[in-house]
Symmetry: C2
Subunit: 394 residues, 2 copies
């Protein structure tokens, strides 16, 4: 018996390449150099806006002796979230359906643990966010991978989802706008998905729940619009984080909004509250909860992100790359001109351009760019992209 538990070893195995890549200190150092063009993660590459800093400074001022006390779901914060959700979506969320979390990472962990037991299966779409499989395994369930429909702009492959549903299916994770393809699922697709989940639930004699990871639901490029899957399938959890909208992933803040007509609503509400507590007091810190009304009023600068997207998509396309144009999210998917995406990432790195190899998100042969790279990085990177493709094509 070694020092480390088998459950942790299993998680380290599932994390695989990401573990090695994401915790490589040398790479992080190299990416922090001023000459680096860093497209790797959805991280800020401009100093935080003054309005954001001001909101936190205001929220630091004590409103009373409870300001820094144990803070569960602060009523003023929950009301603000409820107002925001009801304004934006055709779903009659009640304030009691909202559970504040310290980010979607924990939100997913809490929702999964609330729903699944060993032997249960959870479906997710590949290419996925890095940690779905890990979180499903950590919750004790079995991940079931369904490929996105790569021939149709990474839409949901509804036939594949239907085929993946078994008597043990407990939940499906849907991520729209989709990281890394930027795809937003249409009302037609969501209607069809809902029918499949209803039929699957009826067949297996228990409810299949939908976990709607909406980290990017406010990062949507003109003229696209976003539709929440919760409006189509009431047995859903809407999982949101402010990390992307406000480009502040170091400020862990998000929420779970449970579909108001979900099966077992009362039972689930109590269980989620216990999950928030027992997963390690997964409530946002006081200062961020107090800032929520201000933060809900802030919007991402979509035109800036869209301009970067357009520059990268069109220039890389001209340079000979195959590029997927995203409808939303921070990301641009690009096919590696050589099969080995990790090797091509090293070729780009030699030109001080840092990208995320597709091997990290189950798409070997591709790589991902984040348009959170600042304007200067985008401009400086273009000759590097051109040289890199020329080098490997030579």
């Amino acid at each position: 018996m070694g020092a480390v538990s088998r459950q942790t070893e299993e998680i380290m195995r599932v994390l695989g390449l990401f573990r090695e890549f994401g915790t490589d200190d040398d790479r992080w150092e190299a990416m922090r150099r001023p000459e680096a063009c860093d497209f790797v993660y959805g991280n800020p590459h401009d100093v935080a806006p003054q309005a954001y800093v001001d909101a936190l400074v205001r929220a630091a001022q004590p409103t009373g002796k409870d300001h820094y006390a144990y803070t569960m779901d602060l009523p003023a914060a929950v009301r603000s979230v409820g107002d925001d959700l009801r304004r934006r979506f055709p779903v009659a969320f009640r304030n009691e359906d909202i559970h504040l979390t310290n980010g979607n990472f924990v939100g997913l962990a809490v929702a999964l643990r609330t729903l699944v037991d060993p032997g249960d299966e959870v479906i997710f779409v590949s290419p996925p966010w890095f940690f779905y499989e890990t979180l499903i395994v950590a919750a004790g369930a079995t991940p079931v991978r369904v490929l996105a429909d790569r021939d149709n702009d990474f839409d949901l492959d509804l036939g594949a989802i239907e085929a993946a549903i078994s008597p043990r299916t407990r939940a499906i994770i849907v991520n729209s706008p989709h990281n890394p393809s930027g795809r937003i699922y249409t009302p037609e697709q969501l209607t069809a998905l809902s029918a499949i989940l209803e039929e699957g639930s009826a067949r297996s004699g228990h409810r299949i729940f939908l976990l709607s990871d909406e980290a990017y639901n406010r990062i949507v490029f003109t003229p696209n619009t976003f539709t929440t899957p919760v409006a189509y399938y009431p047995h859903s959890f809407l999982l949101y984080t402010y990390a992307k909208t406000l480009l502040s992933p170091g400020s862990r803040l998000g929420y779970i909004a449970v579909g108001p007509e979900i099966d077992g609503a009362d039972e689930l509400r109590a269980a989620l509250q216990i999950g928030q507590i027992t997963l390690g007091w997964a409530y946002p810190v006081s200062i961020l909860q107090h800032a929520i009304p201000d933060l809900n009023a802030m919007a991402p600068d979509i035109p800036v992100l869209q301009r970067r997207r357009d520059t990268l998509v069109s220039t890389l396309h001209e340079q000979g790359y195959e590029v997927v144009e995203p409808q939303g999210t921070f990301y641009v998917l690009v096919r590696s001109p050589i099969e080995d995406d990790r090797r091509f990432a090293e070729v780009l790195r030699a030109h001080d351009v840092f990208v995320l190899p597709g091997a990290m998100f189950e798409m070997p042969g591709w790589f991902r760019l984040s348009v959170t790279a600042n304007d200067d990085m985008v401009e400086r990177s273009l000759p590097g992209f051109a040289k890199a493709i020329a080098e490997v094509s030579a």
Copy 2:
């Protein structure tokens, strides 16, 4: 199959009374009234000190574009913690032994998951902190309860610990200063404990680890001194939170410091890092990490807490209560004058005095007071305590 997983139902069962008590909105409302004397939790009852607010305001100012980016263990924060630990304790902690966490709740969850698998046993001392058993169950292991030595000021019952060690024992949680008794374990006890754990490890052929929950290691009353168990048993994790020292439990901030000579140090370091990530990005938020050097320089106002302790201990003793004088922590343990501590808590509540019934922490027949109640509450409560004991003695 209901909506909620069996693992969550089991956690709700283990939480038992605490779940009902801790999430009782009416009680929370009643405790918030200005006339309430609230001794229930280690929560602040004075407005946060200006120095604390100033530290957060300073930490909100961006130091660069990475200020609000994904923040793992910020090197400046880790160095500050390392300096602080090396100054205070005779243990040669290296900076790489330190893992920042968003509080001890998550710290314990991460440490437990790193170490235990189903079938493993984890020993804890009763009366315990509310969530030890829950966190052990949530990590998949089996809790093994050992009673504190109630005839000897709640010291460790070393014989009982030795008897509780089985071939499946993986870890023991030790909490000094001890919530709720306020006991600080002596060097002699810790030396003996270390020998027992060494022998147990040798007998079972695998290492038994010690999780040292030191939430209160800076809340120590004159003339007592605190000694860290890590100095006596190298195979230890020191778990710390700033919540108590700075009376700010809503600011989730803490760390795990691994004994530098622990068995499997390299393996454990990698596993803890993965645990921090996969338990839901269990790193403190950026603003709190940036504040750590300032926060490490702040000290709790021990004389104020000690004066409240002295007032409560001596006055309640004079009124006829049996009281345990704590050496540290926020807490004063008092025997309920009637067997039913929950009923007596209601008698006190009728006098606007709110206490934590012993049933919540495995000590039926007792109740706990927190000296974080402000001076005014302490003074106003004294006639209430007198009337309550008179009423039930009549």
